[in-house]
Symmetry: C2
């Protein structure tokens, strides 16, 4: 058994993450991961009991980074005093890092994990659900503060908060199918413009009925 | 070689589609498909040269159905005379069939196909790109008509049109990760409300600057 440290574990995870995002989990073999990481089978099984354990470790690390990105965006916009402006600035923060995200990966690890029923059933998907809930709670709080400050009815604030996750995942798939990573920024920009419109609506009392729309002025 | 007709081919495709959506493409074996379809290896290879050929046939059939859904929504809303109201009715059409869609499948076949690099590289993903382009063109036309009729600047209309695909795909992943199919309807409702707000904005001339938002009235 070779002497393995955290560095080796991280190197295996880095190699595996790239392969799983590119090729899918079932299509990635342990041997491919070992070759890409330049490490031995002994080293691998020192850190991970099985390929499924590796998937769990990958997802755990990805979730931690994902929640870190959320926190960074919250921190970066903490000094925007108007709550509605903060929502817009929050989305713009991700828009500004879209190219960086897409140069590092061609898809989201969550897509690969959620594609495999065994990972959905064995609890790995629960880690993703946790990340979704953390994002939902934080963004719903931003949206609620904005709605209160502008006297707006934003409808189901938690579903609206989830739409940020939905936009990211859908945009990853759009980039992947078209081979055009610039769709990530474009979709985040669409989200920002749509939220700007929702936050610029008439206050509750004066709001037109939801489906009727506005008379042409 | 058994005598095989279209019925047998469709039965194989039905069984394969269910398995691939549930478990992923690489995790689905030809033997599993044969068992689920109740057919023989001979019958399978009469219709499909390989598992990759099967993936292509599955995707072709799914794309045809997908474009059929688009056309059905366009037809169902063709008599809505106000172009902005038609955009809203178009999204509501999908909202109203969300439970039906989610009771038939737990995820989108596109997610499974796009997860596998071999299917992205070998041209299968190009079929998905074609579907995306058909949706984009049709919806961008609806949006452009609405923008003109209300004298609105909707920004990048093609990216806004793509946001419908993005919402579907992201919502499928949200449903899959949480095990709650009701997120599909909730996300389509969010999309409808956001588009309603965008279509109810002030006309171009009077529009506030994009990022500044509205003064509290």
């Amino acid at each position: 058994m070779p002497k393995d440290g955290t560095i080796n574990r991280e190197r295996i995870l880095d190699a595996a993450q790239h392969l799983v995002i590119e090729n899918g989990f079932a299509a990635t073999s342990v041997d491919q991961v070992l070759r890409a990481a330049g490490t031995s089978k002994g080293a691998f099984f020192h850190h991970f009991g099985s390929k499924v354990d590796l998937a769990r470790a990958l997802t755990e690390r990805y979730v931690t980074a994902d929640i870190g990105q959320l926190q960074a965006a919250l921190d970066a916009t903490a000094r925007v005093s108007d709550p509605a402006d903060r929502v817009v600035a929050f989305v713009r923060h991700f828009e500004d890092s879209a190219e960086e995200v897409m140069s590092a990966q061609s898809n989201c690890l969550y897509v690969a994990v959620l594609t495999e029923q065994q990972l959905v059933s064995n609890g790995t998907a629960d880690l993703i659900r946790h990340a979704i809930e953390v994002w939902r709670t934080a963004i719903a709080e931003l949206l609620s503060a904005a709605a209160t400050s502008r006297d707006l009815d934003l409808g189901d604030v938690e579903a609206l908060a989830d739409h940020v996750f939905v936009t990211f995942e859908g945009a990853f798939l759009l980039c992947r199918s078209t081979g055009s990573p610039e769709h990530m920024r474009a979709q985040l920009r669409v989200l920002r413009r749509l939220l700007t419109a929702a936050l610029s609506a008439e206050p509750v009392g004066r709001e037109a009925s939801e489906s009727a729309g506005r008379e042409v002025g």
